[in-house]
Assembly symmetry: C2
DNA sequence: ATATTAAATTGTAATCATTACAAACTAAAA
DNA sequence: TTTTAGTTTGTAATGATTACAATTTAATAT
């Protein structure tokens, strides 16, 4: 077991998640690619390594990760949920031409005339055309 | 035909939308209740007035409104799309206790280190507990 | 007006992501 | 080893949305 795997396993344990090979591989995928994947993308990436893998396991695992605050849900698409292991405050930009989803850094915006609320989750999405696609006319 | 209806009809026409009774009633519903409804909510509200109404019509009509920039899509829930006739810049707050969705006013946040992009849509959602529900302990 | 054409509405069936559930499997505890 | 608890898996069910063809309504031309 390499150092990375050891690290991930103790990180999962420290968040009250029992480690299994499937769980570790799913979390590793999210950390490695940072590509805001859908369940299907994770499935296709791992099925060779874990031929028995079921999509239900991926759904269950992601739900567990979200409950334990290891992973955030991204609802930037209207038909498919995406997942993000970066739980620091940031937003997402989806390019309508190349369909890539970028992370964007931003200031927490000032909320006006809305008081005494408590916040669990921030979601900030922008859709438009990215600088790469803007070059091509 | 009352003044409100006349206004709505010419507003639709001015946005390149041919008026029908169904379209006018759907748009009126959005303006009147401002409740970020789902397709099902609109359907239940209008079915008495329009017994022939089909959900397909609501889907078609909302897609048309979104294309013509009369209505915005809200993906604050992961299972059902919501719609909003207020297309000015604002965000949404969903209370996890009472499930109400509030409009919130906010400053456009400053985006850092991301350049030469063009924006079509902003989406800003917060989930938490509203001030009403925070009162009840 | 009437006939012709185009567009809107409707109902039904298909699609597809997600969830429910029970069985099989694996790991942990006694 | 036996018992118990938790995890994974496959299949079936759910439910929002879309595809599509038929019907109805509106617009245009004759």
């Amino acid at each position: 077991m390499d150092i990375e795997t050891t690290k991930i396993n103790s990180y999962l344990k420290s968040h009250d998640i029992k480690v299994s090979y499937q769980r570790a591989q799913i979390y590793k995928y999210l950390l490695k690619y940072k590509n805001h994947p859908t369940v299907d993308m994770i499935y296709k990436a791992l099925i060779n390594d874990i031929p028995s893998l079921s999509k239900t396991t991926i759904y269950n695992t992601l739900k567990l990760f979200v409950d334990k605050k290891l992973v955030n849900v991204i609802n930037i698409e209207d038909n498919e949920t995406r997942y993000d292991a970066d739980t620091t405050f940031h937003g997402h930009f989806k390019c309508k031409k190349c369909n890539k989803i970028y992370d964007i850094r931003l200031e927490k915006p000032m909320i006006i005339d809305f008081e005494n609320y408590s916040v669990d989750e921030y979601h900030f999405y922008i859709k438009g055309v990215c600088s790469e696609c803007n070059k091509i006319k």
